[in-house]
């Protein structure tokens, strides 16, 4: 039961990220490969502030979200002015900067050894211990993300985002400040990734740079693409499938290092297969290529 709860917690954490990333990648057509960097911002903010400074968990989540907003605003203002492909390169560069910072700023981030002993999340006096309480916390974050993104996509605001995705110059000619729209969704997805990071850090109890590499960013993007671009249900389904399915490898008797590589191999194959045969993903609305 605890094992199933663990898988569901991880699926909920990645659902939150995927649903918000879908707003950027699916609805607005902005392929960002720095989501793991914002995930790390949240995770490390919580880990550092709760262990070294004794901050309450809620305050550390807010601090992480504020840092994510600041970083995403700075980077978004530069990167979103560039072409679609150069934006991907700039987000790739941000991801690598973040990884270098986590790895090299040993005094604060603990370097390659990471930060152990992150306390469990606690809200209104209740502790989110592993099992059902943690699932409730991660699940409610995922539900909040789903409600938030579903609301945005149903409003005229969401229509503008889809318009930007289809034809940005046309939206500009309709007097829409497309840069601001793109910046807003980029920041929003960064905030959700940061909140997920805070939940992850307090759930895992330990953070280290290996959980926030470029491959984790590609994994998060793969969840959106495979689940279905522009579909909130697809993003949740993608997270459940991509988080849950590799767990089956444990039952085949693979060692954890082999299972990690097979898991990566699997989502690489799925990503290529998706582009070849189902570019809109499992439940997607808009194909990434036509």
């Amino acid at each position: 039961m605890t094992y199933i709860a663990h898988i569901l917690v991880m699926a909920s954490i990645f659902s939150t990220i995927a649903v918000s990333l879908n707003l950027t990648a699916g609805h607005s057509g902005l392929i960002s490969v720095c989501q793991a960097a914002f995930f790390a911002v949240g995770a490390y903010s919580t880990a550092i502030l709760t262990t070294a400074h004794g901050w309450p968990w809620e305050a550390s989540v807010c601090a992480g979200a504020c840092v994510a907003i600041a970083v995403s605003l700075c980077v978004g203002r530069v990167a979103l002015r560039l072409g679609q492909q150069t934006f991907v390169l700039a987000t790739f560069a941000l991801q690598m900067i973040m990884f270098h910072v986590l790895q090299n700023w040993s005094d604060v981030t603990g370097g390659a050894l990471g930060i152990p002993g992150v306390p469990m999340a606690s809200a209104v006096g209740l502790q989110a211990s592993p099992g059902l309480p943690a699932l409730l916390l991660a699940g409610s974050a995922a539900v909040f993300a789903v409600l938030c993104v579903s609301h945005i996509t149903r409003t005229p605001y969401g229509r503008v985002l889809r318009g930007i995705r289809e034809d940005e110059p046309l939206m500009q000619s309709a007097c829409k400040n497309t840069l601001r729209f793109k910046l807003n969704v980029f920041v929003l997805s960064a905030v959700f990734a940061s909140i997920s990071g805070s939940i992850y850090a307090s759930y895992a109890g330990y953070v280290d740079p290996s959980s926030f590499t470029i491959h984790d960013s590609i994994f998060m993007l793969a969840i959106v693409i495979i689940g279905g671009t522009g579909s909130t249900r697809g993003a949740v389904l993608g997270a459940v499938v991509l988080v849950g399915f590799p767990e089956a490898l444990r039952f085949v008797g693979m060692s954890s290092s082999v299972a990690a590589n097979v898991r990566q191999l699997l989502y690489g194959v799925l990503l290529v297969g998706c582009m070849l045969w189902r570019p809109q993903g499992l439940l997607g609305k808009y194909p990434m290529c036509e």
């Binding site: 150069t86 991907v88 090299n104 491959h215 993007l221 990566q264 582009m275």
Partner: protein
Amino acid sequence: MEQHVANILILAARYAVTALGLSIVYRVSGCIDFAQGAMYLLGAYLAWVWASACGLPLAAGIVLSSVCVGLIGMGVDAGVYRRVRGDKRAMLGIMLASFGVLVICQSSISLIFGDITLGLPRGPIEPGRLILGARVTDAQVAIILTATAVHLLCWFSDRGTRLGLKMKAVGDNRELAAITGVHTKAVFLLAAGIGSGLSGLAGAIISLDVDMQPSVGTEALLTAVLVALLAGSGRIGAIAVAGIVLATTKEMVGACVSFLWAESIVLGLVLTMLAVRPIGLSRRHREASR
């Protein structure tokens, strides 16, 4: 001082030769091929297989691995990219598929060779030669000579051969090139082969100086991306200049601030420069605005 100049030359040669494959493919297809990181990785490991496991002479192993990687690149283009390639939006599809190829190759290498460090057979370790007051090893001389030769060859091919002209034509306007009788599919295939072969050569030749791990592909990709961002276009001359500028900056930052932070600071500087000049060092906006 002499040693700093030598270090800059070595670093510039490494940067320029690593970025060449990605830039050639980008210039022809207009799409950033992240799989070039995988081709670099395959080049390094195949050179190890030929030279260490099969006992071939080192030079033959390096040449053979570049040819093999070129063929693999052509296979990826024919099997994956050609089927995704279509309208402008397909570029995102190709980019996502190339992420998939990168992940597949890296995890396969991890599964086959393990996550250990491997090195090409270089014989006993000897102090570098003293050339004009700077100590340079034979491997570093080989890297500088190869990078120079490959750049000159590409520059002459770009300017003076029919293939160079066809590549330029397809890169500028695919439809128009097809109307004038250029076999665009063959040009894409050749560009993928040449680009991948060059990335493989970069991986193999740099492995003479630096040991290899499955993560070297991502690091090489970062280098290539940095050079591409700075160069702003796929011109051979711009790549060489961008390589020299980056190497000089990194060496100066390393000497004046810290070698540990040099990579992150250079990444940050490139991102800051993009805010001021989004087209990089390129003189033509059209080339950089994709």
